[in-house]
């Protein structure tokens, strides 16, 4: 007897039903056949006859399959619910969904691989867009959002002072002390100086080791405990180390420094070192991740604020209440409102302000500024960096730029998808005809876009890693030490989100558009090119969007490029070629006389170096943002009632005009004879900071003044030999005599016009600050730093050169922001332009292909080839004009917001706008020309046969 079960199973393909149920069915039907077989045998048929009769019972196996499956379709859910509650049914449904998603994904991958060129272009353009967004966001994340690696950073509060014109994060030590005494809202307030350089030697066996320049920061005693930074080795600083009455010369070093200098030697605790010739003992090493509170800077060594007078006995910064040099951060008590704390401490700031004003009655304009000053508290968990203030707006602009680029890329890919959809129209029509739901097909198409965008996101992450590194090179290297740009969870999440959003944005419209058409027409149309007007409309609006976005970017980039160029070609008033600037660490222990002698010797030795033309020294560097200004009075001159007699000061050494290349218009340069005169009485604190010294001698100090100042105070008169007083020092006899007039030169920054400035002859009072020197050479030469160092060593082995920089670099650096925006915005606007031209080319080629027939007829009816070209170009022009109008409107609105960052160019600069429009028109012309030419070469006969 045949095995009926096997017979049935062999004839039925798998029904993909519940296996148990399927087995039952087979069993039952097998029995049926068996019964029929046996009956036939009983009726006297032969075995083969009986078999034939039995098998006749099932003729159409395929029909049976269908019927069986259909009978079970609604059963699946019932069956499972009956057996095993809800969760299993969910799992099965989920399984089905995931199964079909997998199917979608597989299919999508096949489609994408099939259209390799499309996939490559789409993924690459999206990847650039996504990568750029991620890169910019990475930088924002690092500079502004990432929390400090300390205990509960969200409790930290950063202190700042709001002046009428600016926000300052600097506090004086007396104010800090006062805040600490009056505070009830914080578990602790810490203060830290910004990072500075110091000479460090390790005393091994009581001998001096190698001198090394290290980064130091002076901090309050509770600095580490309030931040919650545990030592890796030894101990951290304590309150008892920081008693003003009894400061302890102890220091904590960073892990990196421990590794670099001591090779991770655990015996480092207790090691004696000197910092600027003063002895300290190392008591601890910090954790590797700890860097303090300033983002992008990594001090090597921390020591108590109270020890400042030990290291430099003449440093008064702990007592001066107008010396703003400390960062203050507090840890807020739980349940304390930040506003309450602010109210409480602002009162203290106000008291301090009144005291300062009372101490300095002579400066009414400063008193006004001080009175309007107030305390501000902000969340400090992300630490502090000057980059944040400086780059907030540029980064915001950049974020806008890259977002627009991403949108352009989206529009481009959407356009490509639409073009692709034309060729897939047949396929989709067939699928719809076979009963696929519209939603099902949209899901399929969206899966494709998502796969595209996720792939782009992956590639984009690589771009971002490279791009954020590149962005970082635009920031000052000294302020970006140890910035970790590797993507964290936040970045990865953002990239994923952006990718998915991108996929939906560019995928949605084409998906809906593609599935919306008349089935019958499409299936009948053999050429498969019949497109409804609305698809054409969508296509066009995408190109118009691209044109608008690119123009927007082009105008923005144009403005910033012009700003950058204006600054670059700007006349600074001095000659920065072959000019270098460097500091010399002098060390302590010099009297004023000895210091002046030393300076003179250094200048003489420098000038005798081969290749050196001249040398001078200055109170502070140009274009560094430093400025000192005050009222000037000219004896015998009646000031006009509303005039502004404030002039800026830069103390300068011998051969200043010659070395700096600031043209001397009349009179003479400062020379060695305009030198130091016996100081009878110390200058006021403020003057000391800039190196001005006031004397009681009636002999005036020599000074160079610039053109603006000469014109302002002396008009057409010859100013040489005239005298003026510096108001702040008037009571102390700060009288100056004009020895020469020089051309106007930029002062604290490039953007502001050269102010009224005077350069008094200067030999600085002794201090431990590095003295700034300027050197003009005959050409660039390598090893300048080493030669200067050896020259200095010949004078005194303790002298050290620090921070040698070419003036050209310094000028460049002061344009960092502008260069940053200009270069990056241009890059991206050109990229957007490229995408737009690809889009234009794509749509015009498509349009030409679609209209081959029409064009053929036109040509056959006598249209000239040039007419056809004109027709296509006109069509392009319409799109460009519409796009340009939209882009222009958007640009006009947006550029107004950035006008503060522009220089020498109006936010609505007509030339820039005209150039941008011209660029886009020319590019559009070329993008459309090839399709137009192709159209004009259509063979009328071939075109007519085409249908």
């Amino acid at each position: 007897m045949p095995d009926w079960k096997k017979y049935v199973r062999d004839h039925l393909v798998s029904l993909q039903l519940d296996p148990e149920r399927e087995a039952e069915m087979i069993d039952e039907m097998a029995q049926h056949l068996e019964a029929a077989f046996e009956e036939a045998l009983t009726a006297g048929a032969s075995e083969s006859e009986a078999q034939q009769r039995a098998t006749a019972h099932i003729k159409d196996w395929r029909l049976l399959e269908c019927e069986l499956v259909r009978s079970q379709q609604s059963a699946r859910k019932f069956w499972i619910r009956g057996r095993d509650a809800r969760n299993k049914s969910l799992r099965i449904n989920g399984g089905l969904l995931i199964g079909s998603l997998k199917q979608d994904a597989r299919f999508a991958l096949r489609m994408l691989i099939k259209n390799r060129l499309f996939t490559a272009v789409a993924v690459l353009s999206l990847a650039v867009g996504i990568g750029a967004n991620t890169a910019v966001y990475s930088l924002i994340n690092v500079l502004m959002l990432r929390m400090l690696p300390v205990r509960s950073p969200q409790e930290l509060v950063l202190f700042s002072l709001i002046y009428p014109e600016r926000t300052s994060y600097a506090f004086s030590y007396p104010l800090y002390e006062r805040l600490v005494r009056g505070d009830h809202s914080f578990t602790g307030l810490i203060a830290a100086s910004s990072m500075s350089r110091a000479r460090l030697t390790v005393i091994e066996n009581e001998g001096a080791g190698n001198i090394e320049s290290v980064q130091q920061s002076q901090v309050s005693g509770n600095y580490f405990s309030v931040l919650g930074a545990e030592p890796l080795l030894g101990r951290v600083l304590e309150e008892s180390d920081n008693k003003i009455s009894d400061p302890q010369p102890v220091a904590v070093i960073s892990y990196d420094f421990w590794k670099r200098r001591f090779g991770l030697d655990p015996q480092v605790i207790g090691t004696k070192i000197t910092l600027n010739e003063f002895r300290f003992t190392i008591v601890g090493v910090t954790q590797p991740s700890f860097f303090g509170i300033e983002i992008g800077r990594k001090p090597d060594i921390w020591w108590p604020l109270a020890a400042v007078p030990l290291v430099s006995p003449d440093n008064q910064s702990l007592k001066q209440n107008t010396n703003w040099w400390l960062r203050v951060i507090g840890r807020l008590r739980p349940e304390t409102e930040i506003a309450v704390a602010r109210g409480e401490l602002d009162v203290i700031v106000k008291q301090q302000v009144e005291e300062i004003i009372n101490e300095q009655p002579s400066r009414p304009e400063r008193a006004r500024a001080f009175r309007e000053m107030r305390l501000e508290l902000e969340p400090g968990g992300t630490g502090w960096t000057t980059l944040r203030q400086q780059f907030k707006q540029p980064l915001f602009i950049l974020l806008t730029v890259v977002a627009v680029v991403l949108l352009t890329a989206c529009a481009n890919v959407a356009n490509l998808l639409l073009a692709l959809a034309t060729s897939r129209k047949k396929e989709i029509a067939i699928r719809l005809a076979m009963g696929a739901g519209r939603w099902r097909i949209i899901r399929q198409l969206l899966t494709e876009s998502l796969i595209l965008s996720l792939a782009a996101g992956g590639v984009g992450l690589l771009f971002a890693k490279w791009g954020s590194g590149l962005l970082l090179t635009y920031l000052p290297p000294s302020q970006t030490v140890g910035l970790d740009l590797s993507p964290d969870v936040r970045i990865l999440a953002l990239t994923l989100l952006v990718s998915i959003l991108t996929g939906i944005i560019f995928g949605l419209a084409p998906a809906f558009q593609t599935t919306k058409f008349d089935l019958i027409t499409t299936l009948k149309n053999q050429s498969g090119l019949g497109a409804g007007p609305s698809r054409y409309f969508l296509n066009k609006s995408l190109v118009i969007t691209q044109v608008a976005l690119s123009l927007f970017l082009l105008i923005g980039a144009g403005l910033f490029v012009r700003t950058f160029q204006n600054l670059k070609t700007l006349d600074t008033g001095f000659t920065s070629d072959h000019l270098v600037q460097f500091g010399v660490q002098i060390g302590s222990g010099y009297t004023t006389d000895r210091r002046v002698t030393l300076y003179k010797e250094i200048l003489a030795r420098l000038e005798s170096m081969p290749g050196v033309q001249s040398a001078t020294l200055m109170g502070f560097g140009l274009l560094e943002g430093s400025s000192v200004s005050n009222r000037i009075a000219v004896p015998g001159r009646v000031p006009a009632p509303d005039e502004d007699p404030v002039c800026y000061v830069l103390p300068a050494g011998p051969r200043f005009s010659e070395t700096m290349g600031i043209t001397l218009l009349s009179g003479r340069d400062i020379n060695l004879q305009d030198d130091y005169q016996a100081v009878v009485q110390p200058a006021r604190e403020d003057d000391k900071q800039v190196g001005l010294r006031a004397t009681q001698t009636t002999a005036p100090q020599s000074a160079l003044i610039n053109q603006s100042m000469a014109r302002f105070f002396f008009g057409e008169e010859n100013a040489i030999g005239k005298r003026f007083t510096y108001e702040g020092g008037a009571t102390q006899g700060g009288t100056f005599e004009v020895i020469g007039i020089v051309r106007d030169a930029k002062y604290s920054n490039l953007r502001d016009p050269a102010p009224k400035t005077f350069y008094p002859s200067y030999f600085r009072r002794p201090s431990n600050r590095d003295q700034l020197f300027e050197l003009r050479t005959f050409g660039d030469f390598a090893g300048l730093s080493e030669s200067i160092q050896s020259t200095l060593q010949q004078i005194n082995p303790k002298l050290h050169i620090v921070g040698l920089q070419r003036m050209t670099n310094l000028v460049e650096q002061s344009m960092t922001q502008e260069r940053f925006i200009a270069q990056i915005a241009s890059f991206f606007s050109l990229f957007a332009l490229l995408l737009a031209s690809i889009g234009l080319y794509g749509i015009m080629s498509n349009s030409v292909a679609r209209r081959t027939n029409e064009i053929g007829i036109r040509l056959a009816l006598g249209a000239q080839r040039t007419d056809v070209i004109g027709m296509i170009l006109r069509e392009t022009l319409v799109m460009v004009v519409i796009g340009a109008m939209i882009g222009l409107a958007a640009a006009l609105l947006a550029t107004r917001m950035v006008s503060r960052l522009l220089y020498g160019v109006d936010a609505n600069d007509a030339t820039t706008i005209a150039m941008a429009i011209m660029t886009i028109t020319v590019v559009a012309f070329f993008a459309a020309y090839w399709p137009a030419r192709k159209a004009s070469l259509v063979d009328p006969m071939a075109a007519l046969r085409f249908e």
């Binding site: 069993d27 039907m29 029995q31 019964a35 029929a36 099932i58």
Partner: protein, 98 residues
Amino acid sequence: MLILALIEERARHGYEIAKLIEQRSQGVLQFHVASLYPLLYRLETRGWIQGRWVEKAGQRRRRYYKLTAAGRKVLNQQRQTWSDFISALDRVARVNQA
């Protein structure tokens, strides 16, 4: 309705049902496997009949279908509908006259 009626008296298995339909209709109505079993399963799914594997001494295991309460209700409804239909036809076309 036919199937429901056949298993109203007692539970029957598939082959028996097919045979009975053929016999009682005197060969006019024939159910093939391809239509019979899917139909049975569908009725089962709707909850009108219930299938159960039964083993009897000396016989192989067979699946017997019996009418459920819901099935009985449906059967009665259908009978009513049919008799209404037939009598309506009768009144109109005198189908039953002969």
